[in-house]
């Protein structure tokens, strides 16, 4: 049986790639015959036609048969699996639906981590809701020493909320084998999968799914092999599992695989908007009538009659048009000292509410007075507020405070925040969102319209905020939980293409649209130091992790691609890079920089002059000079593109035009 390292398969990609509608290249799928794939750790992944990881003949492993998908007593079966031309992705589908479910398995080889990620999609093709239990079985070839959860809990008999995965340690006599690690769920999902271990050899993980008619549910999971810290300390497991966190693995998968994931909380600014109105988490579906909830079970339908509604808020007093109100919740329901009111423009405000003899009239005709300080919940009918739970028209900016309030802010204000490299004041119109990470262990992320993602904290003394209802106010930035720009989110969420301008990718999933302003960069190469101008650089990629060079000290390894086709491998000697972007100029330590990209060449003056000279030569009387000029222009590639396009518009010589067209077609 032929064994292909993954890089061999990658070589096919260039021939078989096609493009999606958004222009992103996607490798073509070709029929897959069972062929072991070797990751960069040298471990073999022997995947069968059903997506199961089978025992390898040559790589010692605990795995005998892993990730076997069972639906009831029936095992997932695929007749014709497919593999992407770059060898990284496999796809398998059941030939006929199982109990109304079309099932597709997507697999991605985690070459760097040493594992396989799965996105198993269950699509309900019936007209009714389908409830089912799906199970994944893992069979192990050697005696297992013990199981340890991702948090370091040993020998668990079940998974607890927050357990994201499991390590399977080999027995002492097989201690040369790597441990197996399973990524099972995201710590923030509500449902925890069930686990059982049989005979010490077979582990079973099962999920219960409820899939609405026409809907899909996806389970994301992964199986990997890893070397564990010999100390066996609890912290070492948690540390090792960072690589295997489902949230991290999901970032390596196409978004369309993870959109319907049931065991992964996808952090999206749009989610913050969907949870805007209380109907969903109050458990009260909206109706044509107003609904007054009293406790968990009583729902009164009717019409609230309220006039002269006034809110006494900490920031000032307001008269509120009843037509603008979507819902009100009282202190007893919210466990707060004051009621809160939801407005149709997306704001949530807390304060003392008063009105002229407010009352609720049931459809049956009975009328009862309303006391805002004692009431439970009141949800207005769908004739008020947006039907889909998204404000219409959406406000241009909202901040949410830790008190739960959401206050509309003026789009003309500046958003002031602090990155690790310096302060940042950015026009609100440029902001998409500023949001805390799950668990809040990391600093909040500021997402900008230009494609930047910067971790910043709200710090400092109270600063002025321009609110729409209360005018200019002073708010302590530390009280801000998140901020969103709904109109921008609606237009741009999910559109996370790489910026067309120069940008840097930084540790912590950050991206900064900015360009390097240093006059020169020095790269230590095997052949000696090389000094280059940032304008020459097409891309710098930090390759330290790939080299696995533990002796590299604090200097990192880089691969530098230059405009014109040259490539340099070495260590960037500049300890920091100075970068300039919208509203900032920062010095950033090189060890925090993962990638620098200049999508458009910045062409040096001497190059522009040389290109102009060569274009002149295209019309030279001497054929040899014309040929040489064509050849040199072809070598210059993108550096000559702009000048070539300009020349073709101005030229009248048929041969020059022909040569220019030929050169331009080379880079298309």
């Amino acid at each position: 049986m032929t064994r292909l390292p993954i890089y061999c398969l990658c070589m096919l990609a260039a021939f078989l790639a096609y493009e999606t509608s958004d222009g992103a290249p996607v490798p073509a799928m070709v029929p897959f015959s069972q062929t072991p794939i070797t990751d960069r750790h040298g471990r073999e992944w022997n995947i069968d036609q059903n997506g199961n990881v089978q025992r390898s003949d040559t790589s010692p492993s605990l795995i005998s048969n892993a990730a076997v998908l069972m639906m009831g007593s029936q095992q997932f079966y695929c007749q014709q699996p497919a593999i992407s031309s770059d060898g990284t992705t496999l796809e398998m589908a059941v030939p006929k639906p199982y109990h109304g479910l079309a099932v597709t398995r997507h697999l991605r080889i985690l070459d760097k981590e040493g594992g396989v990620a799965y996105a198993d999609v269950f699509s309900n093709i019936t007209g009714r809701e389908v409830q089912t239990v799906v199970e994944f079985r893992y069979h192990f070839s050697g005696k297992i020493k013990r199981l340890v959860t991702s948090s370091g809990r040993t020998s668990p008999t079940s998974l607890d909320p927050g357990d994201e995965g499991i390590f399977i340690e080999p027995a002492q006599n097989d201690s040369n084998l790597p441990a197996v690690v399973l990524s099972l769920t995201d710590e923030h999902t509500e449902a925890t999968p069930k686990m059982s271990l049989r005979n010490g050899y077979q582990l079973s993980i099962s999920h219960t799914l409820s899939i609405p008619p026409g809907g899909s549910s996806t389970i994301i999971h992964a199986v990997g092999q890893t070397r564990l810290d010999a100390t066996g300390e609890v912290d070492a497991f948690a540390q090792n599992f960072r690589t295997w966190r489902l949230k991290r693995i999901a970032q390596m998968l196409p978004k369309r695989w993870t959109e319907s994931a049931v065991n992964l909380v996808v952090e999206s600014p749009l989610n913050t908007l969907k949870e805007w109105f209380p109907a969903q988490h109050w458990g009260i579906g909206r109706d044509a009538s107003d609904i007054l909830a009293l406790g968990d079970e009583t729902r009164l339908k009717g019409r609230a009659q309220i006039s002269g509604l006034q809110l006494e808020h900490a920031l000032g007093k307001l008269m509120i048009e009843w037509d603008q109100v979507v819902a009100i919740a009282g202190p007893s329901y919210l466990s707060t000292d004051q009621p809160m009111i939801w407005l149709a423009d997306g704001q949530i405000l807390k304060g003392t509410l008063t009105a002229n003899e407010p009352k609720f009239e049931m459809l049956s005709g009975t009328s009862m007075p309303l006391d805002f300080d004692k009431m439970d919940r009141l949800v207005r009918g769908t004739t008020h507020g947006p039907p889909e739970g998204i404000p219409d028209p959406a406000p241009e900016g909202l901040i949410e405070l830790w008190s739960g309030e959401r206050i509309s802010i003026s789009p003309d204000m500046e958003w002031k925040t602090l990155s690790r490299w310096g302060p940042l004041a950015i026009p609100w119109r440029s902001v998409i969102t500023w949001v805390h990470s799950d668990g809040m262990e990391l600093a909040p992320m500021l997402v900008l319209r230009d494609g930047s993602r910067i971790r910043t904290i709200a710090q400092g003394s109270p600063s002025p905020f321009q609110t729409r209802l209360f005018g200019k106010q002073s708010l302590n930035p530390a009280e801000t939980r998140r901020a969103i720009h709904p109109t921008v989110i609606l237009a741009e969420v999910g559109n996370d293409l790489e910026p067309a301008e120069s940008f840097l990718e930084l540790a912590g999933d950050q991206r900064l649209v900015a360009h390097v302003t240093d006059t020169s960069l020095t790269i230590a190469t095997a052949g000696g130091p090389l000094t280059i101008s940032p304008g020459e650089i097409r891309e710098i990629l930090d390759t330290t992790d790939d080299r696995n060079d533990s002796t590299a000290g604090d200097l990192r390894w880089h691969q530098v691609e230059l405009w014109g086709g040259s490539s340099v491998v070495g260590q960037l000697q500049n300890p920091v890079l100075t970068v300039e972007g919208q509203g900032f100029s920062w010095t950033i330590p090189v060890r925090e920089i993962r990638r620098v990209v200049n999508p458009v060449p910045r062409i040096e003056t001497n190059v522009v002059q040389r290109v102009a000279e060569l274009i002149q030569h295209l019309g030279h009387a001497d054929w040899k000079i014309r040929e040489d000029a064509s050849a040199e222009l072809a070598e210059l590639g993108p550096l000559a593109q702009a000048s070539l396009r300009q020349a073709i518009r101005q030229s009248t010589d048929p041969e020059v035009i022909r040569r220019l067209e030929a050169l331009l077609s080379l880079d298309e």
Binding site: P331, L401, W402, L418, M440, Q459, A478, R481, Q510, Q573
Partner: protein
């Protein structure tokens, strides 16, 4: 003349010495062996480059070769520091010099007290004499590295003082002014502890760049930015600086460990049973003050949990506003949202108002047993 061995590693003090010769087995073995005790930055650099400092002669690196000899002249030498200010250089106080190496790299001066400053070197004359070649006049832009002979004395850091590495070019300050101000800014607020109350600080890169500070009272803080404002004193000259700090420790050896991947060797694991406030960002703050009574949002009538009755406060809901479970003596167990936005604490003597939304858990001292 000896060849300098090829470096697969490049030290934390980037001296950029590159020689196109393959690594030898001996060298690989030495790289894996623990570093000998180091005293100054130049010793670290020399060790990493497999150059052993000598007691009786200086060594010049030139074109990948090591030349033994003597620094015969160093007149009117100074370093225009990138931190600002100009420092006169006296060979008696110098452990080594690194020039531009012909590549335009930044120049460095290594002092015998462990200080490392970068900037631009100037001198009227710098001459090196060796039996292996003609006397050489060295130029700052072309000088690779000059190791000066051992002084025989290790620099010592006075008790309570700290050695700092700055983020700007990993420059090292071993003699900061005692009244220097360290500003620690985090999501929990801002404090300015005196230098002697900082046991150590270091940075980690994954999953995102973070700076950690351990204080002498046991607090471990996740810090967003650290600025050091104070004077640096070198050879009696001092300049005020205002820079971001990369690492700090009470000795040179510890500073080096904190700058490497060995930082975990030095960090003190937090004691889970110790009374402390645990924050969501991983910070741990010893509970040094009594917690006053805690009033709840849903108790406008004034119901209060007494601080002395509490044994543990645990966050149970991440939503806004967060909900906590309060456990205490006498079977006390209740849930609620504190009405005050912050919990007041003290860190290194500084008052700190910790927002409740950052708090994961508060562990109180075990209640004293009542006498029979």
């Amino acid at each position: 003349m000896r060849p300098v061995l090829q470096l697969a590693i490049v030290c934390i003090w980037p001296l950029h010495l590159l020689v196109a010769e393959p690594a030898t087995q001996d060298q690989e073995a030495s790289e894996k062996s623990p570093l000998p005790p180091v005293r100054t930055a130049i010793e670290v650099s020399a060790t990493r480059q497999n150059v052993q400092l000598r007691d009786h002669f200086d060594q010049l690196i030139l074109g990948g070769q090591v030349f033994d000899g003597t620094l015969a002249a160093l007149s009117n030498a100074r370093l225009e520091s990138s931190l600002g200010g100009s420092f006169a250089l006296d060979s008696k106080n110098l452990a080594g010099l690194a020039g531009g190496g012909g590549t335009g790299r930044v120049h460095r001066a290594y002092f015998r007290d462990g200080t490392v400053l970068s900037g631009k070197l100037y001198w009227d004359r710098c001459a090196f004499e060796s039996r292996q070649m003609s006397p050489l006049d060295l130029h700052p832009d072309s000088l690779e590295v000059l190791f000066l002979k051992n002084s025989g004395e290790a620099p010592t850091i006075p008790p309570g003082r700290r050695s700092l590495a700055l983020e700007a070019g990993h420059q090292v300050i071993t003699n900061p002014a005692p009244h220097a101000t360290i500003t620690l800014l985090g999501r929990w607020g801002t404090i300015r502890p005196p230098l002697e109350k900082i046991r150590r600080m270091w940075q980690t890169l994954e999953p995102t760049p973070q700076t950690w500070v351990e204080l002498t009272d046991g607090a471990q803080l996740n810090v967003w930015t650290i600025r050091w404002q104070g004077d640096v004193s070198v050879q009696g000259e001092s300049i005020p600086i205002d820079e971001r700090v990369l690492a700090a420790a009470d000795s040179w050896e510890n500073l080096q460990k904190l700058l490497s991947t060995e930082h975990h060797v030095l960090t003190t694991p937090s004691d889970p049973g110790r009374p402390a406030i645990q924050l969501l960002d991983g910070s741990s703050i010893p509970l040094a003050t009594e917690i006053p009574g805690i009033k709840f949002r849903d108790s406008p009538s004034g119901a209060v949990v007494r601080g002395e009755a509490l044994t543990r406060i645990t966050r149970v809901s991440p939503l806004a506003p967060p909900t906590f479970e309060f456990a205490g003596t006498g079977g006390l167990l209740t849930r609620g949202q504190p009405s005050a936005p912050v919990l007041k604490a003290r860190v290194a003597g500084d008052p700190l108002a910790l927002p409740w939304h950052l708090i994961q858990e508060v562990t109180f001292p075990a209640p004293a047993k009542s006498s029979p």
